[in-house]
Subunit: 428 residues, 2 copies
Amino acid sequence: MGLAGSVSGMTPTDRSRAEELDAADPLAPLQQRFVVDDSELIYLDGNSLGRLPVATKARLAAVVEQEWGSGLIRSWEQWIDLPTRCGDLIAAHLVGAEPGEVVVSDSTSVNLYKLAVAALDARPGRTVIVADDDNFPTDRYVVAGLAAQRGLELRMVGSDPVYGPDLESLAAAIDERTALVTLSHVGYRSAALADMAAITALAHEAGALVLWDLCHSVGSVPVQLGATGADLAVGCTYKYLNAGPGAPAFLYVRRDLQTSLRQPIWGWFGQRDQFSMGPDYDPQPDIRRFTVGTPDIVGIAAVEEGVAVLAEAGIERLRTKGRQLTDYLIELADHWLAPLGFELASPRDSARRGSHVALRHDDAWRICQAYIDASKVIPDFRAPDRLRLGPAPLTSSYVQVWEALDRLRGLVEAGTHREYGDGRARVT
Amino acid sequence: MGLAGSVSGMTPTDRSRAEELDAADPLAPLQQRFVVDDSELIYLDGNSLGRLPVATKARLAAVVEQEWGSGLIRSWEQWIDLPTRCGDLIAAHLVGAEPGEVVVSDSTSVNLYKLAVAALDARPGRTVIVADDDNFPTDRYVVAGLAAQRGLELRMVGSDPVYGPDLESLAAAIDERTALVTLSHVGYRSAALADMAAITALAHEAGALVLWDLCHSVGSVPVQLGATGADLAVGCTYKYLNAGPGAPAFLYVRRDLQTSLRQPIWGWFGQRDQFSMGPDYDPQPDIRRFTVGTPDIVGIAAVEEGVAVLAEAGIERLRTKGRQLTDYLIELADHWLAPLGFELASPRDSARRGSHVALRHDDAWRICQAYIDASKVIPDFRAPDRLRLGPAPLTSSYVQVWEALDRLRGLVEAGTHREYGDGRARVT
């Protein structure tokens, strides 16, 4: 991305270089749209739980106090369309889909299940699910459960720990017995960015359906579900979409597939003419058939606010900044951290990488604990030995990246992490 | 309940009688724990969407602003146990269960699906699901979907529209081929209260499992899951638990069944040693195996606040007041509304009734619209011809019931409802 050449007369590790990059950053003013009450703290875990948008505070207070507290049941007039309205926003601004192809509903895991079952039922007689062995646990577990229940073969493609599953391995695994291919667009550990168009084409050539997990790409990497011909997708809203802990997920079903797919959990929100409460299930003729129970209104309102800020930034600008931020991070890591035993565990080429960077280190767990406790930097740990640094394009600055890497270098040079235990605690 | 005799020297329809009942109501002071910004409005739909507790406003602001906004990912230390901690509260105060038998997770519909599948898998070779034809739509649809998918017989027991399914019909329907019996504890339209102990015993004699839907009883009627030997249950939190629109539901699995049941949606929150992110799914050895994805923290915090107020009131006192309120409502309806074409469509004996009352009327839909618009009373409409009046014991007064019935009488006497259309709109 030409970072080194952008500022002349300095060494690459000068703090002033970060300052100049921030001064030239068109997205920098949007950082003020987020709650930051501790300017010392550097948050590099926006890819696990995004920051709180300032607007979300007022919006949630209004939903709770006015819409629920005062409006009571009458507010369903405006709530009833919220899952599809918010889905349309995600479709238009973040995932390259048409109105009516995305809806906000349930958790990512439940959505994975619903769409995987729908895909398997749409390919009767096919007996294989293709997945990759480095995918996020819930993705692997959901399809493992289905394979066990239905007596299907779960064909796990071996992934390169840095680059993810390669096209050749996938091509070899996908055949005329394959019903479903399920993969992450961006790897949760490595940030490896999959070639959605090529993999979707591979699956389609074999007559299989593809289900994409967008959790680690949506909001930071442009997703082109329509242009790539993707069949199905799910995604999370509490990472780059900044919708808060456990906010509801979304799902995508390509329009021409919608009426032919059978969603397995027949709930009353998937029912056509829902309030006639008739005797037989007659699913909605559109994306709403993939919803189930009463939607989480407070959560979806938070999704809408989170997406609004991303839409204002624009996904292309977010992507450009995400590449530059992580390029810069890697450049500093090369200078400062490689001599201390860190190895890059993400693709070096930003075109093949999402918006986070994994660094491998033998002492990663202890470093992670010390980093939070002694350095006031919040990274993420991923088993067994990765420090995951996610400077979210919308909420992170170049100076924060500089500062975070400088503190990390200082910490490991001083050996501070050796004072921390090597047990494993809970880190999401 | 001896209401008529409680106040002497008045006719049963005197407003002063309602005032005396309120003055003697030990739960009356708790009405101040709820947001009421329009004292003219009478809300009789707490059994659809409960009112906002005052404490919930501050709690949600704290979860959003301090825990999420400031604490960020670090708050998972306190969030991770919230689903089971809140489940334990529900277990102890509302449903007669032990710690570790209830967890808050997903929607009611998704929970119904998970537990129904688990039950069917636990009774291999059995080919029948017994349900009742007047159960809430989502309950019927979920088991219809499973029956269709698995080629099972869905045996729908005919329900009396007022009293629900009778024991004789159920006894005739449940046999050695029955895997699962699924019923509501309180009927969503009629408020018929099922005999949980007797029906559970019937199912167990035949070797079947029972899955109870507690949506319309929990928080207003004592539920004795442990004492009745119930196997499985689900329930809603946005009605009598006052947790807000679309707040997450809960589920119950009797402890001795937990490790033998297979939950079908294998998500990462059901995994033992979740953050090691290992290759194989190894479910939690407890109630957590029935959870799936990342929990809705904001929603569960609201559940905790809602349950806290119910716990303070005490479920026995809530039940006593619920019986008296609805007895009083029926008494007024007998005097004022029966002459206007209304018929009671709920059990007359409060021992067989939950905390709402259904009134049948040929013009119910138009009356419902006029009642909201012209009378400032919010009831609920249930197809095809029921006005459902739910004075929640925690948030409703006797005077409100008097006032609501007086306004209804005035409305129908004046024929105001004839100005309203007879189309069907959305009412949840």
